[in-house]
Symmetry: C2
DNA sequence: GTGAAAGCGCTAACAC
DNA sequence: GTGTTAGCGCTTTCAC
């Protein structure tokens, strides 16, 4: 704060140039492209810059170059611990590449996603959208005008990284089948969730192969609060096992069951997705499909950077699929008879 | 992605100006200061802008004006669920004010904090630093050159918002005393944590008033992993109650106790700070000092915006202290005899 | 290898 | 009211 504008009094390349007895353009070169300048000149410029405490103005640099060294990450709900890992991974990788990361919450809204992208367009080098709620058409359209990578979503040939759902969900069903369950209920999350749709598809397919009945109920808000309604509805179906859209919902189910004195897994087995913070210490600890979400954040940023750095050229990898594994804990057990 | 630079082909005010038959400056005015322009001109400009899909380039706008409509929030560890609330509150308030929020992880490092501020300086309208690890001198120095507000930290007359610790900690001690505990151990967190120091001070003072013995051990990393060592050390002291630096550490202690078959609260009562996600469903659910951290995020952003908007003038409030309250759950119980 | 000059897209005096 | 003219601080041809 202090007085007046924030950048006040900051030395510019002109100050450095005058002090070093060279032209501003030489300072610019010396600082960002030391190779293209006489070694001793470069040295002197660097020395003067350091002495004056010169720091490049990222804004001014970005305007002519079009390069901001800033990346944006949007998540559908910043409240969901699931995204911690994603954010952390992205933040880490962005910083490693010398970039600043902007994190935004799109609040489950495709409109907010689109608006943010339009608004931030020139201010960032690209976007990572996690769990986008936009339609495929919207995504493909935006991807034509902006660098874009997707997490937990596949759409056209937009570069994406997801965690395996098919094989993982098959493992869930097998696990449940081996415990004697014959009737599973899937607790659906947001209607626009791409992973939600995939999870249900995989579940239905796997259940069919095992001759197990599977039905879907919902949608429920993918929150702990949503878990109460989901639990009540699940209990009403007579199913012996519930597979929730995600861990937040699953933990909500656990709480509701405890309130209603329904034994888990005695009367109902519960499975979640994501293995979020808390899944291993809730009670009972939750059986859940774990994925490397931190890595998904890192990978999505990597792909974005690759797109930027070899512009025009296609990035090396598109459609990355990370492995998942079933973390079996105490919320699943033998089916009641 | 597509072809070439990200901003490519975006219409500028020049395009709008030509199409609307006015000068660029009129477009600029019409769009950002409609009052200072003829009503029908303004209307026409707006119409053309909409038709062309014109969107202001935030970067270009920020350079001459010095105003970026972007705020930065730094947290000491983006992994700690405690900051979810802070981030959410800040993000919400920033968006409500039409600002973009940059979220950064400073990894418990005062150097990273300082460097980020220097680097981002001209690119943002101000900084919110949560749980700063910098020294008072550094903070005050930086606050002279940048707009800055603090969360969970007080330093000089830099605007800050904290959650009450004195009264809250007194309540913890009273709660413990009423359960018959006569010996408390405080599990310290990061040495540079300002709140950590305040919590221990308050605890020691309150314990003394109650004639209870209190000692401090540590420091421990403020993570669940750190809780294992903390639990072992705490158990070695013979204290009947442990007050942890924060909930992450406290939940780690709970887990370690479970592993070692130490009954909580039968043999050891455990108290945390922050009431993070998970504190109410770990086992046993954690007694903890809850605070309105989401509100702290909102308030810090508000103060920052106030500083920016009435520049030079002092902001209305400095040193906000939000109330805390003790959430008593099952991790505390009568002292063993 | 280095300097001069022309912008990047926008805002903000300053004239008219 | 509206247009003209300078920049904001930097990068980047283009000459020399």
């Amino acid at each position: 704060m202090a007085d007046g504008k924030a950048g006040g009094g900051r030395p510019t390349i002109y100050d450095v140039a005058r002090e070093a007895g060279v032209s501003p353009s030489t300072v610019s070169r010396a600082l960002s492209n030391p190779g293209r300048v006489n070694a001793v000149t470069a040295e002197r410029v660097a020395e003067v810059a350091a002495r004056l405490g010169y720091r490049a103005n990222a804004l001014a640099r970005a305007l002519p170059s079009g390069r901001t060294d800033t990346l944006a990450l949007f998540v559908s709900d910043i409240t969901n611990p699931h995204f911690f890992g994603v954010i952390r991974g992205a933040e880490h990788q962005a910083r490693a590449a010398g970039c600043t990361l902007i994190v935004g919450d799109t609040q489950e809204s495709p409109e907010v996603e689109a608006r943010n992208i339009e608004r931030l367009g020139p201010s960032v080098d690209g976007f990572v959208i996690a769990a986008s709620r936009m339609s495929d058409e919207e995504i493909v359209k935006l991807a034509a005008g902006h660098r874009l990578t997707l997490i937990s979503r596949q759409s056209g040939d937009v570069p994406s990284v997801i965690v395996d759902h098919a094989e993982g969900t098959r493992q869930i069903v097998e696990h449940l089948a081996s415990l004697g369950h014959r009737s599973i209920v899937f607790l659906a999350g947001p209607p626009r969730s791409w992973v939600g749709a995939r999870r249900w598809e995989s579940l239905a397919a796997a259940a069919e192969r095992h001759g197990i009945s599977a039905r879907r109920i919902g949608p429920f808000p993918p929150t702990m609060a949503g878990g109460a309604a989901a639990a009540d509805a699940a209990l009403g179906t007579g199913a012996t096992a519930a597979v929730a859209h995600n861990d937040l919902l699953a933990i909500g189910v656990l709480r509701r069951c405890a309130e209603r004195n329904v034994s888990v897994p005695g009367e109902l087995s519960v499975v979640g997705y994501d293995d979020i913070f808390g899944a291993d210490f809730c009670s009972p600890p939750l059986t859940t499909l774990a994925g490397k979400y931190e890595e998904s954040g890192r990978t999505a940023v990597d792909m974005l950077l690759a797109m930027r750095d070899r512009d025009g050229t296609r990035p090396p990898r598109r459609r990355v699929v990370l492995p998942s594994h079933l973390a079996i804990r105490r919320s699943t057990g033998p089916a009641p008879r």
